[in-house]
């Protein structure tokens, strides 16, 4: 019995992120549409899209290999596991110790690795463009992310997200420059990693600056559905991560009972809605960058992260 309850908590978290991910995408799209004075599709449109894609036949290029068919599931699994390990509505879940923040970043790296490979499998030039640019973006975004992890870990004394969230909620944090810098850097990384404006445009096809869409161009049917779901999960992961590090309120404590859990879920939903709306607002108010401005943008995030980690040395613990 002592095992069953935390197990249920962990399973609830996994299902929660899976269930909410398309909703978050829907909220972002709706916000953008309303800001452009369109009515926009309903917020549950992404669910309908997924269901439609799942029902359809998968059309595979003639020379696609086994890697091309397995990659979507691998990408999905790595992203799902990563998203399930970020505290959403409760801290101290059963398996939260099985991977820390560094490992979560690395899972996303695994997903990216296979996505880029899948883009190159059929041997079309669009796939190559996407994979090559994704490799560039990843090779700058990942170290920037790692610097953010450094900053947070040096402040909280742990890379374990549950511990970090608990620390961030305590009054011991105070105002810190390094955290502010880390937040800016994290937002930049999140935009780049999720193929959002100004780095990539999630709404276009047939544009030479596209990255993510170029890699998945050949996918269709259930494979595309799985990849789209993984992309939504990744967005959800980053929003949850930002919320968990910089808005660590309203978490249900471990073994807090149903009422606490329900409150935690409500708080989490509010955070998601706010995050989605802010993202939509940001995306409508900024223009897409040229691809070769992106390294400077991400380089700035890397520098900010490094600066934050360095500043950590001059704050308080003198």
């Amino acid at each position: 019995m002592a095992v069953i309850q935390p197990l249920i908590g962990q399973a609830a978290q996994m299902l929660l992120v899976l269930g909410l991910a398309p909703l978050l995408t829907g909220i972002v799209r709706k916000t953008k549409a309303r800001l452009l004075r369109r009515r926009g599709a309903s917020v549950i449109q992404p669910y309908r899209d997924l269901a439609r894609l799942l029902r359809k036949d998968a059309v595979l290029a003639e020379n696609a290999s086994w890697l091309y068919r397995t990659a979507p599931y691998l990408i999905f699994a790595a992203t799902w596991v990563a998203a399930a390990l970020v505290p959403t509505f409760a801290t101290g879940l059963m398996f939260s110790w099985s991977a820390d923040l560094i490992a979560i970043i690395a899972f996303l790296g695994t997903a990216r690795f296979f996505l880029a490979l899948a883009g190159m499998d059929v041997g079309t030039s669009f796939g190559g463009i996407g994979a090559s640019r994704e490799a560039l973006i990843g090779s700058l975004a990942e170290p920037a992310m790692m610097m953010i992890v450094f900053t947070v870990a040096l402040i909280a004394g742990s890379t374990q997200l549950s511990t970090v969230a608990a620390f961030m909620a305590s009054p011991a944090v105070g105002l810190r420059v390094s955290l502010g810098l880390a937040l800016v850097a994290l937002v930049i990384v999140a935009l780049a990693e999720n193929a959002r404006i100004p780095v990539d445009n999630p709404a276009t096809h047939l544009e030479l600056t596209m990255v993510h869409e170029a890699m998945v161009l050949e996918y269709s049917g259930r494979h595309l559905a799985v990849i789209e779901l993984a992309a939504s999960l990744k967005l959800l992961l980053y929003v949850s991560l930002i919320a968990c590090l910089f808005a660590p309120w309203g978490f249900a404590p471990a073994g807090g009972g149903l009422a606490a859990d329900a409150l935690g879920i409500l708080a989490y939903l509010a955070k998601l809605a706010a995050g989605g709306a802010l993202l939509g607002l940001f995306e409508t108010s900024i223009a897409k960058m040229r691809v070769f401005r992106v390294p400077e943008f991400l380089g700035a995030a890397l520098m900010l992260g490094l600066l934050a980690a360095l500043l950590r040395f001059v704050s308080r613990s003198l």
């Binding site: 029902r55 359809k56 036949d57 998968a58 595979l60 290029a61 020379n63 086994w66 890697l67 599931y73 999905f76 699994a77 799902w80 596991v81 398996f95 110790w97 099985s98 991977a99 490992a103 690395a106 899972f107 790296g109 695994t110 690795f113 880029a116 490979l117 883009g119 190159m120 499998d121 059929v122 041997g123 079309t124 030039s125 796939g127 190559g128 463009i129 994979a131 090559s132 640019r133 490799a135 560039l136 990843g138 090779s139 990942e142 170290p143 610097m147 450094f150 742990s158 890379t159 374990q160 511990t163 161009l217 259930r222 559905a225 799985v226 390294p295 890397l302 490094l306 980690a309 040395f313």
Partner: protein, 669 residues
């Protein structure tokens, strides 16, 4: 048992080397020699495992050869045992692979004797317990590997590779010779025991450390001493490349660890700082070099440089922590570095063997003439993929675990006493993260261009899967990568008896943790569970696939690629390795390599093809090697005229030298 068995193994390998000279002519000769090497390596491997796991006590032996008053001392302690495992595991894998691959060798007599002797040399270097036999075995290892590099000496670049390698190897041995000379002190105590007991002064410690960095670093491929490595490693036959890259560089690491951690006592914090910064630079430079490369084997060789950098980052951190008395952190950093030694030997051997399989199947090393091999060589492609994931430090494979441990060690650096060291270690952390991310890009490129897409040449289109020995070896190594990745606790525990004598502490026993989690410091600080993570990913991926196939759709149609409606039939419309690396080249290359692109566009109506030429300059070569070479050439030019003197002049030169030495002695005393 113990060291005696190890020596017997080395002796047998030497005998096999001699026997290989006549056997090389025989039809099944190479199979016999490789089988013998395999058997001996396996015995030595088990012997070393027993020694590391404490089943056999540390043992030593003295052979009445070498210097008459000294003899040759050998010893098998945990440090030697661990590196012996790396050597013999790599040796066994390369030999097993060569059982099949050796058949493609055009001139087996140039390879077989040196191959066995090379294995013996590496074994003896690790076993040696006095400076004399260490240096002798080291030089033996260098020379035999040089002979293997020169095995295909008629190919255009190989002669130059061999020449550069020989010069750098001699330079490295010279540096080590001087280091041991300083360590031995005026009394000439060459035994490692005597060296350990002596306490050299501060200047001597600094000099020895720098010389050891030069000597071992040049063999391991530390930037800027790496210039020979990407020339020499790919020039050898592929199973030997695997040994050189995966194993011989580790023997060099062993040399450095033995000197800096064991023999030298306790160097100050500046030593850690130096090693740390050099390691960080090496890691990023190595992977940038690799990204610019389009020759598969040279890419792998350059990538070895990156991994050597990662290992040196761990070693530098460990030295720094030890100097500040943080022995638990020192143990963590050392464990991370040594874990990476094991990991790199596994996946780099795997990848080099894979490149050998590709070479055997297609005759091509240039990635821009490969492509689509995943459909022609499925087993090789699968094993190579595992190797790529592992080397890119992606979970749940083994490369990630050692980098994770290194990151954990870096996160302890704020407790260090020196400001400079703290800032350096955070900056090096950024470099490490950058190199890890670039490594993933590099192997997306290597795998995507060589194995995926459409074949870019006739030979790639007609490639056939290689023999069962070769594929079996690769899959075995891939399985070991996975095992080390999901059960890292056992490896960490095996490294514990090694860390204790070197830094004074070891990590807490990991295999006792619940669910086989690894917890380097404290559970509230960080933990990672490779097994659980692997199970999670496998089960959620499998579950998703099962559910979708069961509940949604499972039909599949094949159709021509879509490519936005404009598919281009020519395989050259695909991204090539040069175009894949173009964005990264623009960001990093223009600064680091002074990369320039020149486009020659013929006038309209002109039938000549347009040409894109990329030029890269190697900063290490330009800034260090070339000036040194010029200086040496200049000095040689000046000395040249000494060859044309009269006898009387020569005699007077000798006379003057003698008098000068006597004068110095007189003044000195």
């Amino acid at each position: 048992m113990g060291v005696v068995l190890g020596l017997y193994c080395s002796g047998t390998l030497l005998l096999a080397a001699i026997a290989a000279v006549p056997l090389g002519r025989a039809r099944l000769g190479s199979i016999a020699v490789y089988a013998a090497c395999l058997a001996v390596s396996l015995v030595a491997l088990i012997n070393a495992l027993a020694a590391l796991l404490g089943l056999a006590p540390a043992s030593d032996a003295v052979l009445p050869i070498g210097l008459p008053w000294l003899g040759a001392h050998f010893r098998l302690d945990p440090l030697a045992a661990f590196f012996l495992i790396v050597v013999d595991l790599g040796g066994a894998a390369a030999s097993l692979f060569a059982l099949g691959y050796g058949r493609h060798e055009p001139a087996p007599r140039r390879v077989l004797p040196f191959y066995a002797a090379f294995l013996a040399g590496m074994n003896l270097t690790v076993l040696a317990d006095d400076a004399f036999s260490f240096l002798l075995s080291w030089e033996f290892m260098s020379l035999t590997s040089w002979a293997l590099v020169m095995a295909h000496h008629r190919e255009r670049d190989n002669a130059r590779a061999g020449y550069v390698y020989l010069v750098m190897a001699s330079f490295g041995t010279l540096a080590l010779l001087l280091a041991f000379g300083l360590l031995a002190g005026p009394a000439g105590a060459y035994g490692f025991d005597a060296i350990r007991a002596a306490h050299p002064g501060e200047t001597a410690v600094a000099l020895v450390l720098i010389l050891a960095l030069l000597g071992a670093g040049s063999k391991a491929g530390l930037v800027p001493l790496h210039v020979w490595l990407p020339l020499a490693h790919p020039a050898a036959p592929s199973h030997v490349s695997a040994l050189m890259s995966g194993v011989m560089t580790k023997v060099a690491i062993y040399g450095f660890v033995r000197i800096a951690f064991d023999l030298l006592g306790a160097p100050g914090w500046w030593a850690g700082m130096t090693v740390l910064v050099l390691g960080g630079i090496t890691a990023v430079m190595g992977v940038l070099y690799a990204l610019m490369e389009h020759d598969l084997k040279r890419l792998l060789a350059y990538h070895t440089v990156e991994n050597i950098g990662i290992i040196f980052i761990g070693l530098g951190l460990s030295l720094a922590f030890r100097a500040d008395g943080m022995i638990l952190a020192a143990a963590l950093a050392l464990t991370a570095a040594l874990f990476h030694v094991l990991n790199h030997s596994l996946f780099k051997s795997l990848l080099f063997l894979g490149s050998g399989a590709v070479l055997a199947a297609t005759g091509e090393r240039n990635m821009d003439r490969l492509g689509g091999l995943i459909r022609r060589m499925p087993r090789t492609a699968f094993a190579f993929l595992i190797g790529c994931v592992a080397i890119s430090a992606l979970p749940p494979l083994n490369g990630f675990v050692s980098e994770w441990l290194t990151f954990q060690a870096i996160l302890l650096s704020p407790d260090l006493a020196q400001w400079g060291l703290r800032i350096a270690s955070v900056s090096v952390g950024a470099l490490l993260a950058l190199s890890a991310a670039l490594a993933a890009a590099c192997f997306v490129k290597a795998y995507g261009i060589s194995f995926l897409g459409r074949p870019r040449s006739e030979s790639a289109a007609r490639a056939r899967e290689v023999d069962a020995w070769s594929t079996g070896t690769m899959i075995l190594l891939a399985a070991l990568c996975l095992l080390a990745g999901i059960l890292p606790g056992f490896v960490i525990d095996a490294l514990a008896p090694l860390a204790r004598p070197l830094v004074g502490a070891n990590l807490p026993a990991q295999s006792a943790m619940s669910w086989l989690t690894i917890v380097p410091i404290a559970a509230s600080r960080s933990s990672y569970n490779g097994l659980l993570v692997f199970l999670f990913i496998a089960s959620s991926g499998g579950l998703a696939a099962f559910a979708i196939h069961r509940l949604a759709s499972r039909t599949l149609r094949r159709a021509p690629p879509w490519d936005c409606g404009f598919p281009e039939p020519s395989p050259f419309a695909q991204y090539s390795s040069v175009s894949f690396a173009q964005p990264i080249r623009r960001v990093f290359g223009s600064v680091v390599f002074r990369a320039r692109e020149a486009v020659t566009m013929p006038a309209p109506g002109d039938a000549r093809p347009a040409l894109l030429a990329v030029t890269l300059r190697d900063p290490a070569w330009d800034a260090i090697v070339a000036p040194v070479a010029r200086a040496v050439g200049f000095a040689a030019e000046r000395m040249n005229y000494l060859q044309f003197l009269t006898i009387r002049r020569y005699l007077s030169l000798v006379f003057a030298a003698l008098v000068a030495i006597l004068l110095i002695l007189a003044i000195w005393q």
